[in-house]
C-alpha cells in the first residue's frame, strides 16, 4: 500500500520535473518575443545576452579552478586574447569561421604557455602568478606597438557575419548565444564525465592518490588549463561581437575578478554554479547601477557581497543547494534505517 503511494508520488514528481523543463525550454525559445512586449524589453534582452557570455567564461574558468583546483585570477587575459584575435583576423579579411578557429588555436597556445609553468605552482602562488599574467597581458595590450589594439581608445567591432547571416540585433545574438551557452555546458558535462575529466578532478582532490592511480598530474593540469582557456577565449570572442567595442580597459583585472566571483558565488565545482553566479552577479550589478550609478558604490557593494559570501557560504549557491539536498537524502536514509553503517 505504502509502496504504491510512493510510486505515485515519485511519478508525480517526474511529471512536475518534465513539465518544468518543457516550460523552461519554451520560455527560453520565446524570450526575445516576450521581451518585445515588455516596456524595457530591449534592455533585458541585452543584459541576458551578457549573462550568456559571462556564463561561458565562468564555466570555462570553473573547469580549471573549480574542477581541477588550478586557481586563476587572470582570466581576463584569455578573454581578451580571444576577443582581439578574432577581431583582428576578421578585420584583416579572414572569413569569420576560420578566424574563430585560428583565434582559438592562438588562445590554446597561450594557455599552454601559461599552463606548463603553472602546473608546478601551489595554490597561493598560482593565484599570484595568474594575477601577474593578467597584468602583463593587459599592459601589453594597452601599450601595443603599431597600434594593434588601437590603444585605450579601443576598437569598434563590426557585426558578426556567419554563414551569410548578419548578427546585428540583440534577438539574433540571443539565439546564437543561447545555443553556444548550451553547447558549452554540454561540453563541460561531457568533459567531466570522461576519463580525461575524471583525471583532472582527481588531481584537485589528491595529487598523491592521483599519481598512484597512474595519472601524470602535471599533464592533466595542463589539459584542464588549456581547455579552460579556450572556453574563456571563446567567450571573449562572443563578447566582442556583443559589445561591438573592445578596448584594453574592458579587459582589465576587474573582469578576472568578476569571472572568479561569478564562479564562486554560484558554486565552484558544480555544473550550473557559474551560470547561477553569472545571473546573480549581473542582476546585482545592473540593479546597483540603476540605483547608484557605476563607480565606487556599485563596486563596493559587489565586493562586500563577495566577501560575505566567502565568509558564510564559500561553496556558493549551487554548492549550498546540493549540500542541503544531500543532507536531506542522508536523513531520509537514516530514518528508513538499516543502511549498514553500524558494524
Amino acid at each position: 500500500m505504502e509502496e504504491r503511494s510512493k510510486e505515485r508520488s515519485s511519478s508525480r514528481k517526474n511529471i512536475y520535473r518534465i513539465s518544468g523543463i518543457v516550460l523552461a525550454v519554451l520560455i527560453a525559445l520565446l524570450l526575445p518575443v516576450i521581451c518585445g512586449f515588455l516596456e524595457s524589453g530591449a534592455y533585458y534582452l541585452n543584459v541576458i545576452n551578457y549573462i550568456f557570455v559571462y556564463t561561458i567564461a565562468s564555466t570555462g574558468l570553473n573547469v580549471m579552478t573549480g574542477y581541477s583546483g588550478q586557481i586563476n585570477l587572470g582570466g581576463a587575459a584569455y578573454f581578451s586574447v580571444g576577443a582581439y584575435a578574432v577581431v583582428i583576423l576578421c578585420n584583416a579579411g579572414v572569413p569569420t569561421l576560420l578566424s574563430v578557429v585560428l583565434a582559438m588555436l592562438v588562445v590554446a597556445f597561450f594557455g599552454f604557455l601559461t599552463a606548463v609553468p603553472a602546473a608546478k605552482l601551489k595554490y597561493h602562488f598560482l593565484a599570484l602568478a595568474t594575477t601577474a599574467v593578467g597584468e602583463v597581458v593587459n599592459n601589453l595590450l594597452t601599450v601595443s606597438p603599431g597600434g594593434i589594439t588601437n590603444d585605450t581608445h579601443g576598437m569598434f567591432v563590426k557585426a558578426l557575419v556567419l554563414f551569410g547571416f548578419k548578427f546585428k540585433s540583440d534577438a539574433s545574438l540571443y539565439y546564437l548565444l543561447l545555443i553556444m551557452t548550451a553547447l558549452c555546458l554540454l561540453f563541460t558535462w561531457a568533459f567531466l564525465h570522461s576519463r580525461t575529466g575524471r583525471a583532472c578532478v582527481a588531481t584537485r582532490d589528491s595529487v598523491d592518490a592521483a599519481g598512484s592511480c597512474g595519472i601524470d598530474v602535471r599533464q592533466y593540469k595542463i589539459i584542464a588549463t588549456v581547455v579552460s582557456c579556450v572556453m574563456i577565449g571563446f567567450a571573449g570572442f562572443l563578447f566582442a561581437y556583443l559589445n561591438r567595442y573592445i578596448s584594453p580597459d574592458t579587459f582589465a583585472a576587474g573582469k578576472s575578478t568578476m569571472f572568479m566571483s561569478m564562479m564562486m558565488l554560484g558554486g565552484s565545482g558544480t555544473l550550473f554554479g557559474p551560470f547561477l553566479g553569472a545571473v546573480l552577479i549581473t542582476l546585482i550589478m545592473e540593479l546597483l547601477r540603476g540605483i547608484q550609478g557605476s563607480g565606487p558604490y556599485m563596486q563596493l557593494t559587489y565586493g562586500f557581497i563577495l566577501l560575505i559570501e566567502m565568509m558564510f557560504m564559500p561553496q556558493g549557491v549551487s554548492g549550498a543547494i546540493s549540500d542541503y539536498k544531500y543532507k536531506k537524502d542522508r536523513r531520509r536514509m537514516e530514518a528508513a534505517g538499516g543502511d549498514g553503517k553500524d558494524a
Partner: protein, 297 residues
C-alpha cells in the same frame, strides 16, 4: 659616463625609497605566510587607506609626524579587526579561501577609499619637510629629495624595530613559535588567535606607514597602494617567500630596478615588474635567501 652614473644615482634613491615601501609590505607578506600559510590580497588597499588617513589627519592640522604615527597605529588595529572579524571565520572553513576573500576585501576597502576621497589625487598639503627641498651632494652634483631620505630612514627604523620585536621580546618569540607549529604553541600556552591578530596588525601598520611616507612624494589618491601591495609580494618572492629579510632586500631591489626601467621604458613598467615576478616564481622560487616555501605543487 659621468652623466649615466649621475642618472643612476639620481634614480637609485627614489628607487630605494619605493623599494623600502615594498619591503615593508613584503615583511607583512612574509610574516603572514610563515604564520598562516596564506596570502593577503588586501594589503595594497590598506596601504591606500593608511595614506588617506594620514592625509586627512594632516588636513585637520596635525603635523606630518603625528599624523603618520596615528595612522600607523590606527591601521594596526584595523588589521587586528580584519583578522579577528573576517579572516578567522574563513580560515576556520578552508584556509585556501582567504586568497579570494582578501581579494573581495581589497575591492571593498579600495572603493571605500574612493568614496571618502573621490578619485583625484591630493597632494599632501601640510608637510614638515618641504617636498621641493633637495639635498645637494657636491661631489657628484646630484639632487636628492629630502622626502626620499626621510622615507628610507623611517622605513629602516621600522624594519629594525620589527626585527627586534620578533627576536628580543617575549611576544615576538611567541609569534615565531606559533608560526612554526600552531598546535605545539597552543599547548605551551601561546594564544595563536592573538599571534595571528598581531601579525595582521603589524602587516597593516607597516603598509599604512609606507603609504604615509610616500604620500608627500606621489600625492595621495585612493588607488595609491594597490601596486605597492602587489610589489610587496614580488619582492618577497625575490627574496625567498616567507623570509622577512629576503622580503626587505627583494623589495628594495624591485624598487630600484623598476625605477630605472621605468625611466627607460615607462609604458611597459607594469608588464616588466610582473614579468620579473613570474620569472622568479617559476625559475628561482627559493629566492635569494633560499627559502624553501614555494615547492612543487
Amino acid at each position: 659616463m659621468n652623466d649615466t652614473l649621475k642618472l643612476i644615482l639620481q634614480l637609485m634613491i627614489p628607487g630605494l625609497c619605493l623599494g623600502c615601501v615594498y619591503g615593508l609590505n613584503g615583511i607583512g607578506a612574509a610574516l603572514l605566510y610563515k604564520g598562516s600559510h596564506t596570502i593577503n590580497n588586501a594589503q595594497g588597499a590598506v596601504v591606500g587607506f593608511g595614506a588617506l588617513l594620514g592625509y586627512s589627519l594632516q588636513n585637520r592640522g596635525l603635523g606630518l609626524i603625528s599624523s603618520t604615527i596615528i595612522a600607523t597605529i590606527a591601521c594596526f588595529f584595523v588589521g587586528v579587526l580584519l583578522q579577528v572579524g573576517v579572516i578567522s571565520q574563513i580560515e576556520k572553513k578552508a584556509p585556501i579561501y582567504v586568497v579570494i576573500a582578501t581579494l573581495a576585501l581589497s575591492i571593498v576597502i579600495t572603493n571605500a577609499n574612493y568614496l571618502i576621497v573621490g578619485s583625484y589625487t591630493y597632494d599632501s598639503a601640510v608637510i614638515l619637510i618641504n617636498v621641493s627641498k633637495y639635498l645637494h651632494i657636491d661631489s657628484v652634483n646630484v639632487d636628492i629629495l629630502w622626502s626620499n631620505i626621510v622615507a628610507i630612514a623611517v622605513s629602516f627604523i621600522a624594519m629594525v624595530s620589527v626585527h627586534f620585536f620578533l627576536n628580543k621580546t617575549k611576544f615576538g618569540s611567541a609569534m615565531r613559535a606559533a608560526a612554526m607549529d600552531p598546535f605545539a604553541a597552543e599547548s605551551c600556552g601561546i594564544s595563536v588567535v592573538k599571534t595571528r591578530a598581531v601579525t595582521w596588525g603589524i602587516m597593516s601598520a607597516l603598509g599604512a606607514l609606507g603609504g604615509c611616507l610616500t604620500g608627500p612624494l606621489f600625492g595621495v589618491s585612493a588607488g595609491i597602494g594597490i601596486a605597492a601591495g602587489a610589489k610587496g609580494n614580488t619582492g618577497a618572492v625575490l627574496g625567498g617567500y616567507g623570509n622577512m629579510y629576503g622580503a626587505i632586500i627583494g623589495g628594495m631591489i624591485i624598487g630600484i630596478v623598476e625605477t630605472i626601467f621605468g625611466y627607460i621604458y615607462s609604458p611597459y613598467q607594469t608588464a616588466f615588474t610582473n614579468a620579473l615576478f613570474l620569472i622568479f616564481i617559476l625559475l628561482l622560487p627559493h629566492g635569494i635567501m633560499n627559502e624553501k616555501a614555494i615547492e612543487e605543487g
